[in-house]
Symmetry: C2
Subunit: 109 residues, 2 copies
């Protein structure tokens, strides 16, 4: 099943981050995203024609985040938004981050 | 007139940042805000009871920003928001940043 059709799984303390070998095939499915913060964060920058468009995008992404109970950090700038997924409980990346990223990508149609 | 009742002034390339001596009385009017990025940014962290509350706050602050045509960077985290004002044209702080900060403070009632 494609990432954007899956759902984030509940996780808690002790949830392990994905091993590097497991990350490559997931990264290939969200090629517009980069790893940041020594690899612990999955990040993408979006640009928009207006301030309102960026704000609307944040609201839509927040709706998805709340549905999945997996919340990225989002930075609203002037005509730009940065979205950053990580799994705090794992201190790194899990499949949840890639599912979230794929769902955010789908907002762009 | 108190800062929150004033309006941001249009500025452009060549607008000078405020001198240090001029900053002190303005900072005293928004005591919850700190300077960051070597003093070029006026920043405040807000915490909320829910993710939705933080998102609503960002929307309200964005409305003010658009009214004033002076847009802070805003970072939405889980139950927290960071608001960062600076005046890009001045490469530092101007009165606009303090007016914006005071108006955002007023959102909290």
């Amino acid at each position: 099943m494609p990432l954007h059709e899956r759902h984030c799984q509940a996780c808690g303390p002790g949830t392990p981050p994905l091993a590097e070998a497991a990350l490559a095939p997931l990264l290939a499915q969200v090629p517009a995203w980069q790893r940041a913060d020594n690899g612990a964060v999955l990040q993408r920058d979006f640009t928009f024609d207006s301030y309102w468009a960026g704000l609307g995008f944040i609201n839509a992404a927040a709706w998805i985040a709340q549905q999945e109970k997996h919340h990225p950090d989002m930075e609203l700038g002037y005509k730009k938004v940065r979205v950053r997924f990580t799994t705090h409980a794992a201190k790194g990346l899990t499949e949840n981050d890639f599912i979230g990223a794929a769902k955010v990508d789908r907002l762009l149609g």
